[in-house]
């Protein structure tokens, strides 16, 4: 099965080698078509109209939630509501959970800014203590430090919010273990699955977390739509953060009757075509993984490409990978002595190769590791052995420009 040919961007940009899927993934034709179809055939608002096309849109909107729920093994679509992206999901929980002075929120040293800044705000405003699980020099999360924090704070620890897969290191955290440890003191557990969602099976019940967030655009879906999974009993107990249309059944002088779950948390007109497109993207992705031979085969292929990339990079004089001998899954960041990441990125772009350069929205980790940014290569379902080989070849040419 030719995956690349299903993505119009590769037909419209001959020779394009896209290695920035950790930033955003390209979109298959099926997803792009679904957006056009929604606007062309059924365009109308959700939960409002009584006419046929509105009914069709409503059905598709609910169906998209059901597809997501099934994809992450939530108990029902009531546990899934749509946001703009993972960032909004993390801001939602940080602004929703009840916290008092001297309560403790735990994040980690490898978090994306989106799981740092909302908690910093809460910490400052409410006098909450913000702790960070340490990252070893190798680039792995130090779970013994989490256990120390649990012993130190006990049930003052109210929230543990960590990412599933690092968008810099490519490592996957043992979130099941993290949730288990956090639950010994009854902390609310939040998992940022933005990066892992397109690389491994996500089962919220198996992870056991209270909240999990991800973005549609990182799993071949449209941008502008994100997902919050949250346990139903918690959603019932939470007051909505955003208020307006759609999230209420009735508004009287002193009495507001909220809408049913999950609509209570979807105030205002959402990105309808994008939400429906996310459902299509997940269906497409599931089918593609199946056609590639299932999850184990998908992961084996991705691992083989990652290994090819790591081995190729290691041949380059003066290269230093971010993180030591760690298990990277489709993401590798590096620096080359004497060459700035932006120069590497610009010169690779001359050959149609797209890689990310900078902090990747994770400045604290770079600072901890003493790095002024890095260059990152990240894989998507469309990448091939040839993509990696060409990239290594061009990277060697870039190095030669600076070494001559």
């Amino acid at each position: 099965m030719n995956i690349k040919s299903q993505f119009p961007i590769f037909n419209n940009n001959k020779g394009l080698i896209y290695l920035d899927s950790a930033s955003t993934t390209q979109k298959p034709e099926a997803v792009i078509d679904s957006i056009v179809q929604q606007y062309s055939n059924n365009n109308s608002n959700v939960h409002r109209g009584l006419y046929k096309i509105a009914y069709k849109t409503d059905t598709k909107w609910v169906e998209a939630h059901s597809i997501v729920a099934k994809y992450i093994n939530a108990k029902s679509y009531k546990e899934v509501f749509f946001t703009k992206n993972s960032t909004e999901g993390l801001n939602w929980i940080a602004n929703t959970v009840s916290l008092s002075p001297d309560d403790v929120v735990v994040i980690s040293e490898m978090e994306h800014h989106s799981n740092v800044l909302p908690w910093m705000k809460v910490s400052k405003e409410k006098g909450v203590i913000l702790e960070k699980i340490k990252v070893s020099e190798e680039g792995t999360l130090d779970l013994s430090h989490l256990k120390e924090l649990v012993s130190k704070y006990g049930n003052r620890m109210k929230v543990v919010s960590v990412l599933h897969q690092s968008n810099v290191l490519g490592t996957v955290n043992n979130v099941e273990e993290i949730v288990k440890v956090a639950k010994t003191v009854g902390a609310l557990t939040v998992i940022d699955a933005a990066q892992s969602i397109a690389h491994m099976e996500i089962d919220v019940q198996k992870i056991g977390c209270d909240v999990l967030v991800f973005s549609s655009h990182k799993i071949y879906g449209p941008s502008g739509i994100g997902v919050v999974y949250c346990k139903e009993e918690l959603l019932n107990s939470f007051e909505p953060w955003l208020r307006g249309g759609e999230m209420v059944k009735s508004v009287e002088e002193d009495n507001i009757l909220y809408n049913d779950l999950p609509w209570k948390f979807e105030a205002g007109t959402p990105a309808i075509e994008a939400g429906i497109g996310l459902g299509i993207a997940l269906k497409w992705f599931e089918k593609s993984v199946e056609e590639l031979g299932g999850w184990s085969e998908f992961k084996r292929k991705e691992k083989a490409l990652t290994t090819l990339l790591v081995d190729g990079l290691k041949e380059i004089e003066g290269i230093k990978l971010v993180g030591g001998e760690i298990e990277r899954e489709g993401i590798v960041s590096f620096n080359i002595d004497g060459i700035h990441p932006h120069d590497i990125s610009s010169l690779l772009d001359e050959n149609g190769i797209c890689v990310r350069a900078g902090y990747h929205c994770v400045q604290p980790l770079h600072q901890k590791l003493g790095l002024n940014g890095s260059t990152r290569v990240s894989l998507g379902i469309y990448n091939t052995k040839e993509d990696i080989e060409e990239t290594i070849k061009q990277l060697k040419k870039v190095v030669n420009i600076f070494r001559k």
Binding site: G338, I339, H340, P341, H342, D343, S346, L347, D349, E350, A357, G358, Y359, N372, G373, I401, F402, K404
Partner: protein, 118 residues
Amino acid sequence: MNETYTKELIENYKNPKRFGKMETPDLTGRAVNDLCGDELTLYVKNEEGKVTDIMFDGRGCAICIGSMSLIIEELMDRNIYDLLKIQEDTILDKIGMKKDSPRVRCATLSIEAIKNLK
């Protein structure tokens, strides 16, 4: 972009001219690119409104450091007030970069440092 990465630019990046910190400058000009954290500081000795010595330090990509190095010799002996009127085109023309290049800011950080002299 390859036209920008000339041997001359790379050489200026690897061995920048007048690079280092000046201990007691009369004027300094600092510029930071928030996007990437690259930064330049320009140090100037000023006698009666004229540049009598100039140095710079900082960290950055080849375009950022190379651009500053490529332009710095021209700043010697210049009138300070003339210097502050310097245009971004001066550096873009010199390194052959188009105004719509995504890397314009890397090149013009040098101009910003000059304009920030005080």
